[in-house]
Amino acid sequence: MPSLENIANFIHNWLYTTFNATVALLLEFTIVAILVIGLFSVLGLVLIFMERKVSAYMQVRLGPNRVGPKGIFQTVADTLKLMVKEGMTPNNADKFLFNLAPFIVMTAAMLILAPLAFAKNFQIWDINIGVLFVTAISSVSVIGILMAGWASNNKYSLLGAMRSGAQIVSYELSAGLSIITIVVLSESLKISTIIESQANGWWIFKGHIPAIIAFVIFIIAVTAETNRAPFDLAEAESELTAGFHTEYSGMKFALFFLAEYVNIFIVCVIGATLFLGGWMPLHFGTNTTFNEMMDYIPSSLWLFGKTFFLIFVIMWFRWTFPRLRIDQLLNLEWKYLLPISMINLLLATAMAILGWHF
């Protein structure tokens, strides 16, 4: 049966038998880079179209419906437009930092992709501190945002970047604590081990209430970390024109825009991996007939199904809730999410020690 695992293994073996080890490794690097860039561009097109359609349906509108059937080529047309537009740099901007910032944001997003498992045994780099790697790298993107805001030499950009900095730094805490809850339960930082530990049920079912609370807090925190509404103060169109990317145009703006959607995808993959079992099919205990039936669905479809469900939930948030004020935003984190996730972590630890989970 052709699965992503078999294809990857076949290419790997073919490369190592045809070329010597160094060349084969370099070729593998190239293939991985092309695949990652390809995934990013496809994700950008698909997610932006999905967002526009979801928002339209929630607001009783039609959404894009002119380019192609049901408007499916709208984002392709938009991308072409952005590509041919001039990428301007303001006169008094710090030109080096200004031009570097979009690439930092994009590179941070690409780095997080490394330890994520997309299908059974289909992973770029299965390091044994995968979860730590993900949380560490996800804080790098804030540097790119601060850089963009500072280098633009524009008060709106600076304000947006500062807000974004305060927001990402604070929400990382509760996102990290809810990730640790699952690390405690599965007793590993390695992504593949965490997924294996969910073979007899996903953590959201096995972990009882602490896992559900951690999941809810994780979703709230990553919504804030990706600067999505209702936490989009960094952009806040009504107050700051466009926040940190006010001065960007053309392809540099497109990179920020793309990074936003790729980041949503990545945090949803992480959420799906930790709480919803990653590529693991829906298994219930030792009910073998049901489990085998579920195994017939390819593992990559399971992961993408779960991820797109989470993405839909985050889009649902965006088109339902009004934007928070900056003090409300920090109150929510420091007075509610952080204490709750700390107590929740304590509960989860007690549960893991006493072996109350399945």
């Binding site: 979801v54 339209a56 349906y57 929630m58 607001q59 009783v60 509108r61 039609l62 419906n65 649902w316 948030f317 088109w319 339902t320 809730f321 509610y336 709750i340």
Partner: protein, 158 residues
């Protein structure tokens, strides 16, 4: 007690957020009534409100007669000099001179559709029309003479 209020806060917040999400979720799953007007396609069936203000027109009846006395009340009411009334003196049958309308000049490019001229008009000679496709290639085409050529004032209007 502090802890009780804290938990009540969280409960209330989660509940109200879920109510909001249920509403948008309902709209998402029940995608029937669409408010989008696909404008150039539905030109024939376009349903504009009675009160929509597109441009000022003068009402003419079938005898090509209007109700404008040339009193310039609309010109005075206009906040940005959109209307210019050019009057003339007619000689009435009994030999008296009488002020009457010669040209009702209307600058559509200056008009803000504020409706003050229609309110000011003592004889209801002008009204707001529903038309809104005003694009032209030459700005001078936006300066319109509202009274039809050879039209005259309806008898009995003072």
């Amino acid at each position: 007690m502090f802890l009780k209020e804290y938990i009540q806060d969280i409960y209330g917040a989660v509940k109200s957020l879920l109510i909001g999400m249920r509403r948008t979720g309902y709209y998402f799953t029940n995608h029937k009534e669409i408010i989008t007007q696909q404008y150039p396609d539905n030109k024939a069936t376009l349903n504009l409100s009675e009160r929509f203000r597109g441009e000022v027109v003068m009402i003419h009846d079938e005898n090509n007669e209007h109700a404008c006395t040339g009193c310039t009340a609309c010109e005075l009411a206009c906040p940005n000099a959109t209307i210019k009334i050019i009057t003339q003196f007619d000689i009435s049958p009994d030999g008296k001179k009488k002020k009457a309308l010669n040209k009702f000049v209307y600058h559509l490019d200056l008009c803000t559709m504020c409706n003050l001229c229609i309110v000011a008009c003592p004889t209801d000679a002008i009204k707001m029309a529903n038309t809104f496709e005003h694009s032209v290639f030459d700005r001078s085409k936006l300066t319109k003479i509202l009274n039809n050529p050879d039209s005259k004032i309806r008898a009995g209007i003072e």
